[in-house]
């Protein structure tokens, strides 16, 4: 009798706990996904009509005009082009540079290693702040050039440390045997180390790539030329303009069309999020390792 009652009590608690967690899970799911869904819906709706509100689940006046306007506007196209270019160039340079330096540092017997590591750790925790940094970029003539997107962030100290511990775990016998056969350091790196480093390289590529794709502040603070502005910066501009006017309803309508600056903005947002959704499955596969190495390891 006693036993039965206890079991019943447990199952009641179980039921309650399950109810709460599944309900909360559903709420979290909705709250996370719906904002993206909503932007997608609005991007397929006529802009002037959307500004009247009342659209929740489905476009009311379906149109592709927002996307047509986006892809016909040289401002947006140039922004998209610059963003693609900086992402590709920046990722290539960043991955190559970080990997090579990390590989060199992973040798415990490297002459001067202690000094090098000290320099890296100091750069991780200390910085001169934004104003001295800006003066430096100015002095190097990087301000207002495309290179300001790819050069200043080319060596990420955080991933450098991750790389040092990753390459350090590769057994030394592997490279020793190849060197015995007369292979140069670079050949060993290219033929032996790189092929077995896919997890690290993939993590690095994805994170650096997403970072470049999303970056807006270097475009905002270090670049003045209109043709060099990134997609993120252009979106920011639209929001800033709309923010000071009284709201979505007062968004300026484009001449002779049903789109508004805000409805084109939604198309731009979809274009900006789409690539991230595409690499998301790959990101997921690798980032758990990435974040674990970074945050829990000393």
């Amino acid at each position: 009798m006693d036993r039965v009652r206890r079991r019943k009590k447990i199952s009641l608690e179980d039921l309650l706990v399950d109810g709460v967690i599944y309900l909360l899970g559903l709420i979290i799911l909705f709250v996370t996904v719906y904002p993206f869904l909503y932007v997608l819906i609005i991007s397929f709706n006529e802009g002037v009509d959307a500004s009247l509100g009342g659209i929740y689940w489905w476009p009311r006046k379906f149109t592709l005009e927002n996307y047509e306007q986006f892809f016909n506007d040289s401002k947006w196209l140039v922004g998209l082009g610059v963003t693609v270019l900086r992402t590709v160039a920046g990722t290539l340079i960043g991955v190559l540079f970080t990997t090579l330096v990390a590989y060199g540092l992973s040798f415990q017997n490297l002459a001067g290693r202690k000094l090098y590591m000290t320099i890296i750790v100091i750069s991780m925790y200390f910085s001169g702040g934004i104003i001295p940094y800006y003066t430096l970029l100015k002095e190097l003539h990087l301000i207002d050039t495309f290179f300001v997107y790819v050069i200043p962030g080319a060596l990420n100290t955080f991933f450098l440390m991750v790389g040092v511990s990753f390459f350090g775990d590769i057994p030394g016998s592997l490279r020793e045997s190849a060197k015995m056969d007369g292979a140069s350091e670079l050949t060993v790196f290219r033929k032996i180390i790189l092929p077995i480093s896919t997890p690290f390289l993939a993590t690095l590529t994805l994170f650096i790539g997403v970072g470049h794709w999303n970056n807006w502040y270097d475009s905002a603070f270090f670049v003045k030329t209109k043709e060099l502005r990134t997609l993120s910066y252009l979106m920011m501009e639209v929001i800033n303009k709309s923010m000071v006017s009284s709201g979505a309803g007062s968004a300026t309508a484009q001449t002779a069309s049903a789109t508004t600056t805000l409805s084109i903005q939604t198309a731009a947002m979809v274009v900006a999020v789409a690539p991230i959704l595409c690499v998301y499955p790959f990101l997921q596969k690798y980032f758990v390792t990435g974040i674990m190495i970074g945050s829990v390891k000393e």
């Binding site: 934004i130 450098l160 923010m243």
Partner: protein, 313 residues
């Protein structure tokens, strides 16, 4: 002398590796160390027209700019916003991922768990620019939330979520929780998965219920992870805790109407430095914040070592 010889020999033997590493070190010296010397600008009567030499040749003014900042009419407000938003973020963005991780761990339907988790960390990869765009679509006076509330007759006037100074702090904390909750859950969930199943079975035999098991097994077992993440969050307290989002949020979501509560020291540095061109003053203000942050990193590390024997360095 002999030691130097062997060092040189070693160096030459490792020449290709040394070239890789040295290129990185030279890079760091240029992009990280040179700006550190720029800090002296904050103590000098520096003007941008003087160029880089001016940093060294201009006149020393001591703490003039520091005093000017402390006496600025904005000072109290800036400090209040910086500290207030940071503390609120710590209080909310730190425990929520732990609760969420425990919750996910209790879900028995694995497909649902995976679905919720996968979706929850998507916002981490989306830039604050897009988040501010989404916020505008939802929270502006013509946005979906205001129109919905008005059509239901719950409010007569649209609520200025993005413009009302009283609402900015809440908005900052909520949007940060929304964006980063799932991401930090990964760390805690990984720790929970590492907890031995035997402990749970033993507790179950002893008659411990679900909540008791969570309280007496799960949470104590992931305490080391909680402590490490807490140090990380405390070290970057004024940057915005775990996600370091204070600057981006304040810069993107702050506007002339909510400036009173949205402007923080970092955005102030930008305004006076890059927009108004007062480099020396802005450097001094930035330096105050960096100094406080460094003290925070070292002291949180120190206390954590004392209390739990764990630290970052």
């Amino acid at each position: 002398m002999k030691k130097r010889e062997t060092w040189g020999k070693e160096f030459r033997k490792q020449l290709p590796l040394q070239i890789f590493v040295l290129s990185g070190i030279v890079y760091l010296l240029i992009f990280n160390f040179i700006p550190m010397f720029g800090i002296i600008m904050g103590f000098k009567d520096y003007d941008i027209v003087m160029g880089v030499e001016g940093i060294f040749t201009s006149e020393w003014v001591g703490l003039k700019y520091f005093r000017e900042f402390v006496n600025d009419y904005n000072f109290a407000n800036l400090v209040k916003n910086t500290v207030g938003i940071s503390l609120l973020k710590l209080i909310f963005t730190f425990p929520i991922p732990i609760i969420f991780a425990v919750m996910l761990n209790e879900m028995k339907c694995l497909r649902f768990k995976k679905l919720v988790q996968t979706c929850s960390y998507l916002p981490h990869f989306i830039s604050w620019v897009i988040i501010s765009g989404i916020s505008f679509q939802f929270l502006s006076s013509g946005g979906i939330i205001n129109t919905l509330l008005m059509s239901l007759g719950l409010i007569g006037q649209p609520i200025g979520f993005l413009t009302d100074p009283d609402l900015y702090w809440g908005f900052a904390v909520l949007s940060d929780v929304w964006k980063e909750m799932g991401w930090w859950t990964i760390v805690f969930l990984a720790a929970i998965v590492g907890v031995s199943q035997d402990l749970y079975e033993a507790a179950q035999i002893d008659g411990a219920g679900r909540l008791q098991r969570i309280w007496h097994i799960t949470l104590p077992c992931i305490k080391p992870t909680i402590v490490v993440v807490l140090i990380l969050a405390l070290g970057n307290l004024f940057g915005g805790g775990l996600s370091g989002s204070n600057f981006e949020q304040s810069y993107l979501m702050g506007n002339s109407m909510n400036k009173e509560t949205s402007q923080i020291i970092q955005t102030y540095v930008f305004e006076v430095g890059l927009a108004q061109g007062r480099y020396a003053y802005a450097t001094a203000v930035g330096l105050i914040q960096s100094a406080i942050s460094l003290v925070l990193i070292f002291s949180s590390n120190f206390f954590s070592k004392k209390v739990s024997g764990m630290g970052l360095f």
